[in-house]
């Protein structure tokens, strides 16, 4: 508990210590990417379903905002009030996620990855080829967050706090849900779906429901991301970005909801600063090597490395009690 209070204080105070760039481009962006990756952590870490279409779900929410709200592209832009737009965008994202879930839940492992990859690719080509609604290759620009009097949500500090609120709410929700009936059942289904069915659980429906909840998380982040970018185009929902989400989740660690945020921070820092050291083309090589190194050293990502380091330190000091066999338990707060 204490460590979360310290973390919350640091995150709240962060914009007062850094400039606009670090508040907006690094802080807010990492929080939102982390939230999208959190939706993957829920499905992959707790549900055993590695889905490559979580960015697609976020993109569906983003496109919905640009289509139902205002944009400056003269394509769609129906001008609905912002709260209708946001509600509709998250609802449509959840429905789309449920459909993706319904298509993919009867597959396992590599096949889940392939099907969700196929869905991500299809959506990319679909929006690129559709001009009447999605404005094809160019996409939809001039998407603005709502204004509340003098408060402009795209200003760095307000947007950072909005992103922090979204990330924090879902982080806590996932942390809570992990030990709630639905979340326990999801993890048990990951461990032994046949036994869960024999115990009376509707395994496919449970998995689809997990996709729907993850869809709410990804969709909400998608709404904020379209405000962040001010625009959305096929490039936003490309396969390369979908894979970035997977990389973020794996780098951070899929075992605990803090993992995706650690992964997102590392990723965003590398993305912004590796480019100063090396040229653009080599960036993917750097990310790829980091990815490989972390996966090799620790299947549980950076979280796993932290745990190993912590255990090593503990092993050096005299043991008050039997050492923890379970890195997992480090994060159990009951």
């Amino acid at each position: 508990m204490g460590k979360y209070i310290v973390l919350a204080a640091l995150l709240l105070a962060y914009p007062t210590f850094v400039g606009d760039f670090f508040t907006f481009q690094i802080g807010a962006y990492a929080l939102l990417l982390g939230t999208v990756a959190l939706s993957l952590q829920v499905l992959g870490g707790y549900g055993g379903m590695v889905s490559l279409s979580q960015l697609t779900v976020a993109g569906i929410a983003g496109y919905t905002v640009a289509i139902l709200g205002d944009n400056t592209t003269n394509v769609m832009g129906l001008g609905w009030p912002w709260w209708c737009v946001v509600t509709a965008a998250i609802a449509i994202a959840a429905i789309a996620a449920s459909l993706i879930g319904a298509i993919s839940v009867r597959t396992e492992g590599i096949y889940t990855i392939m099907i969700t990859l196929a869905i991500a690719v299809s959506f990319f080509y679909f929006v690129r080829q559709n001009y009447p609604v999605f404005n094809g290759f160019t996409g939809l620009a001039g998407v603005e967050p709502p204004r509340f009097g003098a408060l402009y949500l795209r200003d760095p500090a307000p947007f950072y706090y909005l992103s922090l609120a979204i990330a924090a709410v879902f982080f806590w929700a996932v942390r809570y849900e992990r030990h709630a009936t639905f979340g326990l059942a999801l993890q048990a289904i990951r461990d032994n779906p046949r036994r869960m069915a024999a115990l009376g659980y509707n395994v496919p429906l449970h998995r689809v429901a997990a996709h729907a909840l993850a869809g709410v998380i990804a969709g909400t982040a998608g709404v904020a991301l379209v405000w962040f970018n001010g625009r959305i185009s096929p490039g936003t929902v490309g396969v390369d970005v979908a894979i970035d989400i997977l990389i973020i989740a794996v780098i951070g660690g899929m075992r605990h909801p803090i993992g995706p945020f650690i992964g997102a921070l590392v990723f965003v820092l590398l993305e912004n600063f590796a480019i100063d050291l090396i040229d653009r083309e080599r960036f993917n090589t750097v990310i790829g090597l980091c990815f490989l190194a972390i996966v090799f050293l620790s299947p549980d990502g950076l979280l796993g490395l932290f745990d190993k380091a912590r255990q090593a330190v503990r092993a050096d000091t005299p043991k008050p009690q039997e050492p923890r066999k379970h890195p997992d338990k480090l994060h159990h707060n009951r």
């Binding site: 709630a180 048990a188 461990d191 009376g200 659980y201």
Partner: protein, 257 residues
């Protein structure tokens, strides 16, 4: 729910008639008739491959029958799904433990109880004082796993995992439990504990136990059935079976693979 039904004149809890199962050309279970009384404790003996586990799978609905009918408490359950039979009071354990390895002992048993009780999609955490959680704890106590209640199941010893299998079958007022080789791989001490546990189960719980170890089987059972090549080859009291020459020959000989 069961209580609102009129009293059933059938004294049997389980009736199989002509139940069979083929896997391709292999006849695993060959037209078995079997009648188990309420509160009866029956042992199933038989060499490897005799069809004992398959017979359990047919009783629970884990695999469908090829022919025959199964009645549980007088009602035809032949085509019911496993979970519907569970809700009527039938439970089983597995020859190879089927547990949720990354969850704790408490969470495993809680999920078994929740599966029967309903509200399986609840987004709320179940509190320790909740009746269902209390029941899960009682079942854990019944198999003497209290000290390991928060342990992750993957870290339990083999013997503890077998105990947990039993705890998961005890939730939600079972009337008949099918134990599939619960003593497999246990040390002599653990075996003794298991026998004590089975003997100490509440009177109203009947069970069928598959057991290779004749000593264990004969200690806990009222009646013994011996299976061979998919058929019930002999039925009798523990004494009769122990002293039966044909059974002895089957157990000591090895001419059947």
């Amino acid at each position: 729910m069961n209580q609102v039904l009129p009293p059933n004149p059938n004294p049997n809890i389980l009736d199989l008639s002509g139940v069979g199962r083929q896997f391709g050309a292999l006849v695993a279970v060959a037209g078995i008739d079997l009648h188990i009384k309420r509160q009866e404790r029956r042992a199933m003996l038989g060499s490897n491959g005799a069809g004992k586990t398959t017979l359990f799978n047919l009783m629970t609905g884990d695999i469908p029958v090829s022919q025959g009918t199964i009645h549980f408490k007088g009602a035809d359950v032949t085509v019911l799904k496993p979970q519907d039979r569970v809700r009527r009071g039938l439970r089983r354990t597995y020859q190879i433990s089927q547990l949720f390895g990354l969850l704790s002992v408490r969470e495993n048993v809680y999920l078994a109880a929740r599966g029967i009780a309903g509200n399986r999609f609840s987004l709320i955490r179940t509190q320790a004082k909740d009746a269902l959680m209390q029941e899960a704890e009682n079942c854990i106590s019944a198999v003497h796993l209290d000290d390991a209640i928060e342990t992750e199941v993957g870290n339990l010893s083999h013997g503890q995992q077998r105990q947990l299998e039993i705890a998961m079958a005890l939730v939600g007022k079972p009337e008949l439990i099918l134990f599939d080789e619960p003593a497999a791989g246990l040390s002599p001490t653990e075996r003794r504990d298991l026998v004590r546990l089975l003997k100490g189960l509440p009177q109203e719980i009947g069970f069928i136990i598959i057991e290779h170890d004749m000593d264990v089987a004969l200690q806990v059972a009222d009646l013994v059935s011996v299976m061979h090549d998919g058929r019930i080859f002999k039925e009798g009291t523990p004494d009769e079976i122990e002293n039966d020459d044909a059974v002895q020959a089957l157990y000591l000989g090895d001419g059947h693979g």
